[in-house]
């Protein structure tokens, strides 16, 4: 973009920043206590909660990365949306109702309470920091590419700008800010995609014309570039990872009730459906209109600057900016809470005041933001590949001790620790071996299987968790479950 168009783009970004600062300032007072900062005072209803869950999930991996995936691989990756939703149903049935019984603020809180273990809290907090560094770097990388292409500033400066925006509003407003910016993001995505998709549909001559052009280019683009085996392993890693993802657990802790959480998951599907169709049409149309882009991740910025009419393109670009800064904010908040709440507040200085913990959270937000900046400078791979790999690490580490731990009373502290460490070590080792399906298993599947085997085997041979502790998660009667 140049001239007046570029000025309007910067004005739109400035307006977004002003809105974020206003929401942050308004939230600042509500977030003066730790429960306000980390879980919005447990006040979110189904619609805002749904927007929050969607806003966490639909990251740069979707608005930049999946557009790039559709660009280079065609239609088949679209199936990852409904397949990923299976993970959300697992969450609605087996995670959300049970974890809501515990008045925790973070996922490590759950580990400490369920397994009576400071070690489980510490290990999970450190893991969150490592895995979320990778995840956050994908957001910064996507933002860097977008700002570079749109405005012409250098990639390094663009990454710093994205990190600055993300850090500023997260440090100011915490979860309140994230929730309301999440709603704004949902509205913006809906508006941008609802306008852009019909335009592309008409100008490209409809779905049949796009299909004819893609099929002639490479038949796999309209059929199965990714086979069912690959799609299942990617979607299960993302979906089941979401069922136990630390930022989604924090969002679940932020909801008013169990029912609000379950309905919020439904509302998040509503928002995701628009995004899923939108990114599909974007990627496919762009492949026909510009078949030889230098980098598939440039798809969304190219659409916004070169293909769509100015105002629709601007909406799509600003929605993408909101997407990666907002998801970056959720990641940052979760990582900061692992430092301030779990490592500082619970392990290092257990008698720290609420005010000190909130201050530690804000400082941790700023400090933690720096590590992914360095990873983003390294430009590791396509944005969505980074997101998928971070998801594989998370599902290997978290799925078994969270989901099975909430549903099986026999799980013990040692079983959980063995399962977490064994799962993630297997996933990393499997990836390092370099064979995508060694003995028929993807790295995430191998990680989850080893994690589950260790979970049951070690739990069967070690001291069980006390009955009082179990009563929180496994109340004696269904009646009591409902009253909670």
């Amino acid at each position: 973009m140049i001239g007046n168009d570029l000025r309007i783009f910067w004005a739109a970004i400035a307006a977004y920043m002003a809105l974020v600062v206003a929401i942050g300032a308004w939230s600042y007072r509500r977030a003066s206590k730790e429960e306000g900062f980390l879980v919005a005072g447990r006040s979110l209803g189904p619609v805002i909660g749904g927007a929050t869950l969607m806003a966490n999930q639909v990251s740069a991996g979707a608005t930049i990365g999946i557009v790039g995936f559709h660009y280079f691989s065609g239609f088949s990756y679209a199936w990852s949306w409904p397949l990923t939703w299976i993970g959300w149903v697992v969450c609605a049935l087996f995670v959300a109702p049970k974890i809501r019984r515990h008045p925790g603020l973070t996922l490590p809180d759950y580990f400490a309470a369920r397994y009576e273990s400071k070690a489980a809290r510490a290990v999970s907090a450190v893991f969150i920091l490592v895995a979320y560094s990778v995840m956050l770097s994908a957001q910064y990388q996507a933002g860097g590419l977008l700002f570079t292409l749109v405005s012409g500033i250098s990639y390094g400066r663009a990454v710093l700008l994205v990190a600055g925006i993300t850090t500023a509003y997260t440090a100011l407003g915490g979860m309140y800010s994230n929730a309301y910016v999440g709603l704004f993001k949902a509205v913006l995505l809906l508006a941008g995609y609802v306008l852009a998709v019909p335009f592309l549909w008409r100008e490209m001559g409809g779905l049949h014309a796009i299909g004819v052009a893609l099929y002639a280019l490479d038949p796999r683009l309209t059929q199965n570039w990714f086979g069912w085996r690959q799609l299942l392993s990617i979607s299960m890693a993302i979906g089941l990872g979401l069922a136990a993802a630390p930022y989604e657990i924090s969002a679940i802790y932020s909801m008013q009730s169990r029912r609000a959480t379950q309905l919020a998951i439904g509302w998040s599907f509503f928002f995701q459906a628009f995004v899923g169709v939108g990114v599909l049409v974007f990627g496919l149309s762009l492949r026909v209109a510009m078949p030889f882009l230098p980098d598939p991740d440039l798809g969304t910025p190219m659409l916004g600057t070169s293909l769509l009419p100015f105002w629709i393109g601007l909406l799509v670009l600003v929605a993408a900016v909101v997407t990666f800064t907002r998801t970056g904010g959720a990641i940052l908040l979760t990582a900061a809470s692992a430092v301030s709440h779990d490592l500082y507040g619970k392990l290092l200085v257990p008698d720290a005041s609420d005010r000190a913990k909130v201050a530690a959270g804000r400082i941790a937000t700023v400090l933690f933001s720096a590590i992914p900046v360095l990873l983003a400078f390294a430009h590791l791979s396509l944005v969505n590949f980074i997101v998928i790999y971070a998801a594989k690490l998370m599902v290997s580490f978290l799925f078994v001790p969270v989901v099975l731990g909430l549903n099986w009373q026999g799980a013990t502290r040692d079983g959980a620790l063995a399962s977490m460490l064994g799962g993630v070590a297997t996933c990393v080792a499997w990836s390092l071996l370099g064979h995508p399906y060694l003995i028929g298993l993807d790295s995430a599947e191998a990680g989850v299987l080893v994690s589950a085997a260790l979970f049951f085997a070690v739990s069967a041979r070690t001291r069980p968790v006390g009955r009082e502790t179990l009563r929180v998660f496994f109340p004696p009667s269904a009646q009591r479950v409902r009253s909670l």
């Binding site: 099929y215 379950q262 030889f292 790999y389």
Partner: protein, 236 residues
């Protein structure tokens, strides 16, 4: 901790190996394209590629939509004509063209490869194909892609014309538009209100894209209300 992170990054790179597979690169990063639309249902296109190395035998692609046909293409480097061969195994709507390799001592860095052709268009929304190398262009220094400048000009006799897609800026002249891209677009769509009617329907197989998309969108459209109904029955 540092070792652990190094390990994760190594694994990440191993996982992403498929993504880093580089496409073939065409040795040019500065491209000028001029499209001139005439009254008689024709458009002339001239493409200039500033070469940074000898291009060798190259494959080119043409996106020929219904209501459009491309006359024979003239190609030259340094005033020397190159043989242009249309690949008979073409897959509609893409037509593949091969340019013979210019002699190595006659084409290299600093030379300009020029393509010139006439497009015959009909219909009120004309799709003018741009012949593009079937390869990624080199990146300009410090940029994320090449520098492709496209100018669209319309003769005085053509009334109320405007460029529909990609996005162009109107220049000082009301009959000229300009845009800059990172890659060569496959076509320029121009609205020509006075053009003759033409059936834009595409023939050929869409490879099942339509029914797949319908099932995909239908699954999502059903899933949302079903989920909300199912979990909405349960009162707290």
């Amino acid at each position: 901790m540092v070792r652990l992170r190094t390990c994760f990054l190594a694994a990440l790179l191993a996982c992403c190996r498929a993504a880093s597979a580089q496409s073939i690169v065409f040795p040019a990063h500065d491209v000028d394209i001029v499209v001139t639309v005439h009254d008689a249902g024709t458009a002339d296109v001239i493409e200039r590629y500033a070469l940074t190395a000898p291009p060798g035998d190259t494959r080119w692609t043409i996106f020929a939509s219904p209501c459009t046909s491309v006359d024979p293409i003239a190609a030259m480097v340094d005033d020397r004509k190159l043989a242009v061969a249309v690949d008979e195994r073409r897959r509609e709507p893409w037509t593949e063209v091969r340019l013979a390799s210019p002699p190595r001592d006659r084409a290299g860095a600093g030379d300009t490869l020029i393509l010139q052709y006439r497009v015959r268009i009909s219909g009120t929304d004309a799709t003018i194909p741009i012949v593009l190398p079937a390869a990624v262009l080199q990146r300009s220094e410090g940029a994320r892609g090449a520098s492709v400048r496209v100018d669209v000009r319309v003769d005085d006799e053509v009334r109320d014309a405007r460029v529909l897609m990609p996005r162009f800026e109107r220049t000082d002249s009301p009959r000229a538009w300009r845009a800059r891209f990172l890659a060569v677009p496959a076509f320029v769509r121009v609205s020509l209100p006075g053009g003759a009617a033409c059936d834009r329907r595409w023939s050929g197989s869409a490879g099942g894209l339509e029914w797949r998309t319908t099932i995909f969108a239908g699954t999502m459209a059903l899933w949302v209300p079903l989920y909300l109904w199912w979990f909405g029955r349960d009162r707290e």
